[in-house]
């Protein structure tokens, strides 16, 4: 009968899919512990789909940029470096399976860029257990004092970012402010530190809006906010909400108030949405955002920029955005740090080279400053100790593998490579804590 043959076919199809999956897993796996001389692999373990789908591609491109430079000079200890993607969907449950699959099916997986805030807490123990060093792009406070040995954070913590926003506002003389944050995880992480620091510095947060995302209108909220006459708006929301909200601020206030955003404001969907809704003039006149400090000058940056702009897998406009993005720099630097640690350790075995990560970045007495993988490789070959200074500047890991950095403030506008207006240093932040 028709039905039963269809049924048999379907069951067979499923079985073949499942078996195929198992087949490819067994075929591709090398047992951990043995280290053949095939290519080593670093994975971009981040969302490539879902609300944070823009994270993954930038990581993969930046990883490829670094890998190309590394492979051009003969790879790591003679081994070729490959970058692969692993999509977490931004969902912890999917990410756990993706992590297990990545570990199971990837021969010579030696490191990760990731996980992001979306999945870090669920997956970092898995990689810890598998002895895979991870260079996470999460700012979560949970990792401020993490016991994990294979966890490294080049990105700044969220609470530091909140502090930086407050410091910048006070520097501009804004004593009355409104906080407009989405009710999503990323945005909410900044709020407590922002409020605490702003109050400590003598500012008054007259309005604190926790807005529902993607609504048809925020006009009443805005009218209430404007009634308090804020001098500045602190904000982090998703692009759709920001576009609607800010265009309605312009509508009701005739002009955009001075606004301080976060690094998410520099992501291209946000820039795209907001420039279209409020116009580039309003935006560049009034909207600034804080993001991790990267000088965007110097040897390391120039090498990064050239490599990033030549990296495969993204459009020219995306590449030029990435080339100015401190996060792209941090991803690129992470790959270089792992690669140099492997060279210093003389092996790509993660359990061994993980101990060298802080050694190749520390500014110890007599260490040679190097600005690229090639320079570091040569210096190490001559028996020198090195300090890798990345495209985003020097990186110093503390006892908990965190690197406290400085922040820069830049205008947001359609042309991505605006010069920073100023810097909030790590020392400034330490003072308001």
């Amino acid at each position: 009968m028709n039905h039963s043959s269809g049924r048999t076919f379907l069951v067979a199809a499923v079985l073949s899919v499942v078996l195929g999956a198992c087949g490819s897993t067994t075929g591709g796996s090398g047992s951990p512990g043995s280290h053949p001389t095939g290519p080593v692999v670093i994975a971009a373990f981040n969302p490539f789909s879902g609300p944070d789908a823009s994270f993954g591609p930038e990581i993969l491109v930046s990883c490829n940029a670094a890998a190309q430079l590394i492979n051009n000079v003969g790879g790591i200890n003679g081994q070729h470096l490959n970058c692969v993607s692993s999509d977490t969907h931004g969902d912890p449950a999917d990410a756990v399976a993706a992590a297990e699959k990545l570990i199971a099916t990837t021969a010579n997986l030696v490191g990760l860029i990731g996980p992001s805030s979306d999945e870090a807490l669920a997956t970092s123990p898995i990689f810890e257990h598998a002895h895979i060093p991870m260079f996470a792009d999460t700012g979560q406070a949970a990792y401020d004092k993490t016991p994990l040995q294979y966890f490294w954070r080049v990105t700044a913590a969220d609470d530091a970012k909140g502090n930086a926003m407050a410091i910048w506002a006070i520097r501009q003389g804004y004593k009355h402010a409104a906080a407009v944050f989405g009710n999503d995880a990323g945005a909410q992480a900044d709020v407590p530190a922002l409020k605490a620091a702003y109050a400590k510095l003598g500012g008054s947060m007259d309005t604190s809006l926790n807005v529902a995302l993607d609504q048809a209108s925020y006009r009443t909220e805005i009218q209430q906010m404007l009634a308090q006459q804020p001098q500045v708006i602190f904000t982090e929301t998703d692009p759709q909400t920001a576009a609607t909200f800010l265009s309605e601020v312009v509508q009701l206030n005739h002009t955009l108030l001075p606004t301080i955003g976060t690094e998410t404001s520099f992501q291209s969907p946000y820039v795209q949405a907001v420039t279209q809704s409020v116009g580039n003039d309003q935006l560049s006149a009034n909207f600034v955002a804080v993001q991790p400090y990267a000088p965007a000058t110097g040897d390391a940056y120039q090498i990064f920029k050239t490599a990033e702009l030549a990296a495969p897998g993204a459009s020219a406009s995306d590449l030029s955005t990435y080339a100015a993005d401190p996060f792209a720099m941090s991803y690129y630097d992470s790959v270089n740090i792992m690669a140099l640690a492997m060279v210093a350790a003389g092996t790509s075995d993660p359990a061994t080279y993980n101990k060298f990560v802080s050694k190749v970045t520390a500014s110890t007495q007599g260490a040679t400053k190097v600005y690229s993988f090639d320079q570091g490789r040569k210096a190490l070959a001559q028996g020198q100790s090195i300090q890798y200074v990345g495209a985003g500047g020097a990186i110093a890991f503390d006892a908990f593998h965190n690197s406290s950095g400085s922040f820069q403030v830049a205008r947001l506008n359609a042309a991505a490579d605006a010069a920073p207006l100023g810097v909030v240093t790590a020392a400034d932040i330490a003072k308001v804590r």
Binding site: A93, E100, A104, A142, N183, A189
Partner: protein, 597 residues
Amino acid sequence: MSSAVQLYVSTLLIYLGVDIIAALALNLQFGVAGIVNFSFILFQAVGAYVAAVLTLGPSTPPPAGFQDYVLGATLPYPLPLIAAAGAGGLLSLAIGVVGLRRLRTDYQAMVLLVFSLIATIVVTNETGLFNGSNGLSLVPKPLADVLGLSPYDIGYQWFFVGIVAVVCVMAYGVVHAITSSPLGRNLRAMRDNEHAATALGKDVTRLRMLAFVVGGALAAVSGALLVEFISAWSPGSWFLPETFSFFAAVIVGGAGNNFGAIVGALLVPVAFLEATSFIPTFGRAGLVESLKWVAVGLLIMIFLAFWPRGIFPERRRRFRASRTGAASYTPAPSPCFVRGTDQPVDSALLEARSLRREYGGVHAVEEASFTVPTGRITGLIGPNGAGKTTVLGMLAGAVAVSAGDVLYQGAVITRLAPHQRAQRGLIRTFQQSSEFTNLSVLENLVVAVPRARGDGLAGALLTKRYWRGQQEAEVDRARALLERFAMTPQQDELAGSLSGGQRRLVEIMRALMACPQLLLLDEPMAGVNPTLARRIEEHLADLRADGLTMLMVEHELGVVDRLCDAVIVMARGRVIAHGPMSTLRVNQDVLDAYLIG
């Protein structure tokens, strides 16, 4: 297998188990009971949250920690799992009370969808509830410390597979016990035709709540297992689309079939959605993801188009041959309808007092007062649009009265719900065919039995041993009835596949199985071939002889003539005459009504 591969395979097995439990739960709600539960994922979420906070220990809000939540405790395993089931059940009860009692099916679906969104907003904004949008994380894995295993070791992983397998088997046991029991039959009858189930005395609100609560508890269990495994849970874990992937699983596997639900869970959430992660990414970021959901949408539509009953269609339940041998028909095979001792023949069993019904100012029935004498067949006739069916509806309780009262056995029953009236022996049939389409003919009959053993949750969970004995007796009674109406060859066919006349017969037999004291028949012979009509007629006469009272709407005046002791005539919403047919034939009002109407 290397241990890394084992880790991955065991992870997939754990997800499969969790998805199977969830699919079984949704199958009970949607496949068996017909509830379009668009908030399904919410119940998985609440189970996850409750299990997590009861494992995590006391809340550690910032600045000391980073998680703020309610109910923090460290309960020994498996108490968090059990508590999660309880929480899922309680939430289902609360939402069901609001959303499932009085609303139409389509409104129910929409209200449940809205509840799901409200829950997301509340959990996201009330950061003190379950740590807001950051969600809960670092949930300790159950029993890892007791066993002395590292929770990320392959040994522990297989242990967890074991836990999931045990819970899976238990969940299957519960769902299977329900679906195969008289309770499950009632649920399926309700799904196929709610009004007809009500008219047989089934409390559909209670039935629906029951399926909803059990399904909600099971969904919560699946969520609890999931959170114990992945050790993190946040609003991102229960987006609305997750609900749709479970609906796809149930539809693909076969709604109403538990084995189908299991296969659906293997196919859709595990194989289909996981297999796509092996597709190398191409095109722009997120392209594969959108194509994946396009495929899920197409999968749902293609199955509904070509295999609407899924890969494994709902099982057609057959009953074993009677142990006592071939049953012989007796007119009163069961003690279930008896003439009440306090109701002498010809006394008023039912009385309608000035019934009125209007729709938006239009009177469907203006004034209807009459009595139905015990032990007699009373006819209700009148031209089209006279209001006969509306009157029948008001007597049975399906149509609310605008004014007036219905008295039954001397008591006012105007405010009683239709199923309560049916439970008192006031059983109606419908003008339009209202068989339970996806039940077999025999099941259509057996389902009508009131107060059957195993039609409650406890009885169903006691399994077959508890209810089989009574069911066999009732099956015998049903078979005898089928024999009488020459329907024995069709007993195992789906009622929906019968001819129109056969469906009428099923409906009458079904009403007889429901232990009526007063049968309200709405054109019982319409669309039945003359031979069968004759047989129905004879049978109705037999039933009268046995003491059953009937009120019959009928067009065929010949039938009325032969069968009815007294006749009520309605026209334009009013009762215009009352009496034996012989006198009515010469009544000028009646003649006018038929000529003009």
